[in-house]
Symmetry: C2
Subunit: 636 residues, 2 copies
């Protein structure tokens, strides 16, 4: 079998001819990004071929790369078939290491007490003077090992039936797996011999687009593999609404199956990667939004999209993996996160767990930004939440050169206040194609600092500079000339783009302000602002405050928790105490419907400035703007 | 359709031509004995045709009757097909009324609090200002009706999935069925509209030979039907040992299926009789011996019959009816009684519940006699038990004219001390064929009172009387001359028969004495002796004491609880408190292995006299014997 060597770490894996470089990377223990599930769609798994021969369709996948990149051997790991021994370089940007470090650092803060445990037993065989029944002998053995009291453990019939033979075949040395379940304990498996070392659990972030799986060795308290996959329901609608509509038209069981299959593919990849048997996975915790949770459990989500918009269930549910088609041990418990409302789902509860805001007395603000945004404010005693549509601008929609965070997107932008020359960084460092969310926030902040735009977002057409010009419909600013780009046009931002961006950011700031008002607190009371989700990953905190996306707080109080859904799912998997609290947390949160809250409109309108109508709320930003005006601009 | 009228009560039923009289009786609400399940084997369902036309095979089933009986219109209800309108007389002996009265009187003593309850709800529909999820709305509705707290009720996925549609189809008027289960409560069913009136439960006595079912209306606290069936496992062995051996040879799942089917047939008969849908049966409680319980649950009983004789499980088990093929609602909980040992099974725990001995401070003795016997002694604080083989004599085996309690068996016998002329009653009042257990005990007692036999059981051949004679091998006493009988021979009891009977009764008395000794009590400490099982039904208490089958106590302290297994199952069905206590009761009972108990042999030997070597233990009997000796006999 050919050997694939991965640089810079010299990880090696032997794979059959015809396997993908991605397969090889997984065997070598490298966590390569596969957001699209290895379909060649997301362009995240870029690697560089240094030596050896592969099969890779440059015609079909060339659009992910510049000619120069291709010359350097760029290819997609998921679409490159191994022909002989290879040496492959994996850029750091293709690895999913950061989230893992976030998960592990947060997990290290809390006591490791999973809900499922194995007990390896060496039982005294029965004798004429000790005719204790098999099950009692087993359960009392578990109790003697520090497990729960024998009479508190429920043994389901199917497990019970297997016990007598296992005990005797195993010479009275067996391992019992016991799970803490609602109302008590459950014996979920009995095996011959000592299998204490084979106890795994999975945390799942069931996103509308992407699924992320973390595989834990619950015996050694460590993450042993991660995997991601796209949610295969996407074929039946990109957004939640179209999924619900498909479910209503008799598509519910199909969407259920696709959710389970998508998770199973990721579980299989992770299990193969870690070299474990999926049958040894004894617990699964799933964090997903309210609709995704309904779909995974095959519960009709249709009532959520028609008046009066009620879900079937909000509380944490538990079921056996076999009942929903998850490819782990059939008796493994599957736990889904509870929800607060249709819009504040299990993913947000997971965010809350991830940032630990309910564990502290200080007040925190949590913001999850995607096509929709969710905001939660509170501490260990109280919590308020709301949700809304941010509009597509922050994801690159309704912005002329806006794009998603894909290769070629400008993700960081600076503008020299004197020369107005922008400098930028693109994803994968290829020639720019457009600007993604974090780049757009940078751009807004830099344009106002350079006095190119005013606090209303109007471009100062009085500036005589080739980059400041009248476009076809709107005034615009040139960020990159055509010859710097991947295409044939100058990359610009128009006054209309800026208006759309301001409306998006105003919705978020307005929501934050509305919750703060409702709670009777000011920005000084905020001990921390947590960003969850991909948007926060590359966001420049200073610029986010400068444009008034979030309230002004000290910079080090703004923290990015990455994928909070997966972190929260991990914590609920490894801590029975954290999991036990979830329903209480969900019930504690008051949901504020922004559309029904009169003050929101005022807050929104006041936020439709850069950063806000009332500059006294952004004293730090005011100082900077004052300096800039003195240096670069005239009177306002 | 022909109408069948049953006398003497003028119950009527219309049935299709070709239906059996048994079918008609069930429709008319009469509880006719069908021990063999309507196979024409047991001869218990005797009725007399008064007018009309039936099809009945007199050739095939005539052996159950005398010619005179046949002339009077005797036939088996289960084998007689209705041709046109009939008038049929049902003798009291063909009805199963007595046990029902016993069950109902005992049930009336305890608070009616079944573990399963229905809650009819009229919920407020959701609105824009009240978007409580469907499940929460439902469970909070149950809580508001006095049910368990909403967050204590577990809703299984399959029930949960059905809720949104049911709520809306039912116009928010639904009925939820909630069961108390180990560790909490479980929502087992949701239905449209108000179905509070349709809540039924079944108590089952799963005997090795016979199955008895009681159907309760749990809404009105009443027994609505009873039914019995033979245990169809009989085809694979009459006794327990042969069943276990068949199970070991890959026959386990077959025996499981037969147990379930046998119960299902009885359940169906009872449900049809009561005119209810089996799907409305929401709970089943089963009392059976340890092997029968293993078989019903498809748990291997094989380890109980080989050294060191351990069962797989002794504690109370619960499972869903659907999992073991019971034809009631698939989510209905099925509860099996716990056991103390291989020999003191769930049937005996049910006996204990039935006689209420654990509820009192006074000490009781419980005796269940069949091929094997079980004895329990104790009160609310302590209990001892033992079991043994009584030998077949009391069931008519190893006795020349012994027979089971079938038609033609002498069940009561008296002997005139002066003339030695016996008078007797036979089952179904037909000509005698032999003697069953209760008749044999009578006979022993009467023979000793008449001084025909001495306390060793030897026939006094010095008596010159045609009934006292030397038989072919042994001395014998003639109970019925050939011309009184159904056959061509005199019905006699031989000295060898008497020896076998004494050994049988000595085993039982010896066991009682052994337990009393172990507990340090005497007969004066016994507040009651309870007989369970068919044997006790027709037993003459005075004679049972006279022959030393049981210790001497005042006659009114001896009580017959009939089928204690079914009574106990009924109590556990209708009282959650009684059911909760079962495991504790089972654990409280100390099992004494008679074979390992040196004192048992002494007690047995001392009991091999009529009534016992030490007459001071039977002072009342001694007085009677003294009188008899003076009146009829010479010096002993």
């Amino acid at each position: 079998m050919p050997t694939v060597t991965f640089l810079p770490g010299f990880h090696k894996a032997d794979v059959p001819r015809g396997a993908t470089i991605l397969d090889a990377a997984q065997r070598a223990g490298l966590h390569v990004n596969v957001v699209c599930g290895g379909q060649g769609r997301c362009g995240k798994c870029v690697v560089y071929l240094k030596s050896g021969k592969i099969t890779f369709d440059r015609e079909k996948f060339g659009h992910f790369f510049t000619a120069e990149e291709l010359d350097r051997g760029a290819c997609l790991a998921c679409q490159s078939l191994v022909r002989n021994d290879l040496r492959v370089e994996v850029p750091a940007s293709s690895l999913v290491q950061e989230q893992k470090i976030l998960v592990e650092s947060r997990a290290a803060e809390i006591p490791f007490r999973p809900s499922v445990r194995k007990y390896s037993l060496e039982l005294t065989p029965p004798s004429l003077t000790d005719t204790t029944p098999d099950i009692t002998r087993l359960l009392e053995g578990i109790e003697a090992q520090g497990g729960p009291a024998a009479n508190k453990i429920y043994a389901p019939l199917e497990v019970l039936r297997s016990v007598p033979q296992l005990l005797r075949q195993g010479g009275w040395r067996v391992t019992g797996t016991v799970a803490l379940v609602p109302g008590g304990y459950r014996l979920i498996k009995v095996e011959e011999g000592n299998t204490e070392g084979r106890l795994y659990g999975a945390a799942v972030d069931l996103g509308t687009t992407t699924i992320v799986v973390y595989l834990w060795d619950l015996a050694t308290a460590s993450v042993i593999a991660t995997a991601s996959n796209y949610n295969r329901q996407i074929g039946y609608g990109e957004d939640i609404l179209s999924r619900v509509n498909f479910a209503r038209k008799n598509g519910l069981s199909k969407l259920q199956r696709l959710a389970a299959e998508s998770i199973n593919q990721a579980l299989t990849a992770a299990a193969n990667n870690a070299g474990i048997d999926r049958e040894d996975i004894h617990e699964v915790v799933v964090a997903g939004n309210t609709v995704m949770t309904h779909l995974l459990l095959c519960i009709d989500p249709g009532y959520m999209i028609a008046e009066p918009y009620v879900p079937v269930v909000r509380r944490m549910l538990s079921t056996a993996a076999g009942r929903i088609g998850l490819a782990v041990h059939r008796n493994a418990g599957v736990y889904t996160f509870p929800a607060v409302s249709n819009f504040i789902g299990g993913d947000i509860i997971a965010d809350i767990l991830a940032c630990g805001m309910t564990e502290r007395e200080e007040i925190s603000l949590l913001i999850d930004i995607g096509t929709n945004f969710e905001v939660v404010i509170g501490n260990r005693d109280w919590m308020l939440s709301c949700a809304g549509a941010a509009g597509p601008a922050l994801e690159g929609g309704e912005v002329l050169f806006g794009m998603r965070a894909n290769p070629g997107a400008m993700e960081k932008v600076r503008i020299d206040g004197g020369t107005l020359k922008p400098t930028y960084e693109t994803i994968n460092r290829v020639r720019p194609k457009g600007i993604c969310g974090s780049g757009l926030i940078d751009l807004l902040a830099e344009l106002i600092r350079a006095c190119v735009i005013d606090r209303n977002g109007h471009i100062n057409m009085g500036i005589r500079h080739p980059r400041v010009r009248q476009g076809r419909y709107f005034p615009e600013f040139v960020i990159a000339w055509a010859d710097e780009t991947d295409g044939e046009r100058d990359i610009v931002i128009t006054e209309n783009d800026i208006k759309n961006l301001i409306m998006s950011k105003a919705a978020i700031l307005g929501a934050c302000m509305t919750l703060m008002d409702a709670a009777g607190i000011t920005r000084e009371d905020l001990a921390g602002i947590y960003f969850s989700g991909a948007f926060g990953n590359y966001l420049n905190k200073e610029n986010a405050i400068a444009v008034g996306l979030i309230p002004e707080v000290p910079l080090d109080a703004v923290k990015n928790i990455g994928n909070g859904a997966i972190t929260g799912a991990n914590l609920a998997l490894i801590s029975r105490d954290r999991r036990r609290n979830l329903d209480r947390i969900a019930q504690q949160i008051t949901y504020i419907e922004l559309n029904a809250e009169p003050s929101f409109m005022d807050q929104y309108t006041s936020s439709c400035f850069l950063p806000h109508t009332d500059l006294s709320l952004f004293p730090g930003v005011q100082r900077v703007l004052d300096e800039c005006r003195i240096r670069y601009g005239g009177a306002e």
